[in-house]
């Protein structure tokens, strides 16, 4: 079975970043405290910025443009992983999703940085330079919640719920590394579960796309902004 094409690979990455950026931006204005609100919104913007760069690369290959790829596809055409599609407006789950995604994303980017395709390796390197700070942010939150008797059970519950989704962000060959990193941080063995893989979608994706493309669809075709 052939692997995904170059454009499919780029779209999977771009869709993950766009959808997660969108989800994280749902906290803008309502995060637990002001400084976190600013930081988390800024992280969300970074993700959307990565998506734009990736869509531009994919668009060149597919003979279209970044906006068309980001906004004009039907839900089934998105290649995002179910983890990023979930609407979980609750802080413990948000932080756990953020941390699991960033951990998986780091593994994926590390592999892409070794790519023979100079453009892919280059964009992965560029993206990773910003992701470093997302990881520091995610890890400091996890450390803080792990150390709190009040937060720990809620954290564990969220990890249990999201773990199969986290595995689904990565291809088979990269999953053992995610298991290793997560087990190392949590100091326990993760259950052997069936991953919720890319290719299937959560019902929440369609709702998200509906909202995300509302303004664009309201304008006549070919409108310039």
């Amino acid at each position: 079975m052939p692997g995904p094409s170059r454009a499919e690979l780029l779209l999977a990455l771009a869709d993950d970043e766009l959808i997660l950026g969108w989800r994280n931006s749902e906290w803008t204005g309502i995060a637990p405290f002001l400084e976190e609100d600013v930081a988390f919104s800024s992280i969300a913007q970074n993700e959307i910025g990565h998506a734009r760069a990736l869509y531009e690369l994919a668009a060149r290959e597919l003979g279209t443009d970044a906006d068309t790829l980001a906004f004009d596809r039907s839900p089934e055409e998105y290649r995002s992983s179910p983890l990023v599609e979930l609407r979980r407006l609750e802080w413990a789950r948000t932080i756990v999703r953020h941390w699991l995604y960033e951990t998986a994303d780091a593994i994926r980017l590390e592999a892409l940085k070794q790519s023979d395709d100079a453009e892919i390796a280059g964009i992965a390197t560029k993206i990773d330079r910003e992701e470093v700070y997302h990881r520091i942010h995610a890890e400091m939150w996890i450390d803080r919640l792990l150390a709190s008797d009040d937060a720990r059970p809620r954290l564990d519950e969220a990890i249990e719920e999201l773990w199969p989704y986290a595995l689904g962000v990565l291809d088979d060959d990269l999953r053992p590394e995610l298991v290793r990193k997560v087990e190392e941080k949590l100091g326990r063995t993760m259950p052997d579960v069936e991953p919720v893989s890319r290719g299937q979608h959560e019902a929440e994706l369609a709702e998200l796309l509906e909202e995300m493309t509302m303004v664009r669809r309201s304008a006549p075709a070919g409108a310039r902004w």
Binding site: F33, E35, A39, Y133, H137, M140
Partner: protein
């Protein structure tokens, strides 16, 4: 209780550190991330200083009852007097 850090930023190497604002954070690790996101991610800073507000020794109430202006660095304007002196000496450049 959040800690408050005063944030200073430097625009380019060699420039002075200037007060940028403050950050409230649960601890130093959070403060570093928040400062980076708020004062450093648009390329507006080349370096940041984070100073716990408690470490700042603030002095205030400077009295100047006798209006001793001449003791201030900017208290004395010699520009006019220099001009007069030059005029007298006939070396004033027009």
């Amino acid at each position: 209780m959040p800690m408050v850090f005063e944030v200073f930023r430097r625009e380019r190497p060699g420039a002075p550190m200037q007060h940028a604002g403050s950050i409230a954070a649960p601890d130093q690790r959070f403060a570093e991330i928040y400062a980076r996101e708020q004062y450093g991610r648009r390329g507006e800073s080349e370096a940041l200083w984070l100073v716990p507000r408690g470490a700042i020794d603030e002095l205030g109430e400077f009295v100047d009852e006798f209006d001793l202006k001449y003791r201030r660095v900017d208290g004395y304007s010699i520009k006019e007097r220099l001009k007069e002196a030059r005029q007298r000496a006939g070396t004033l450049e027009s």
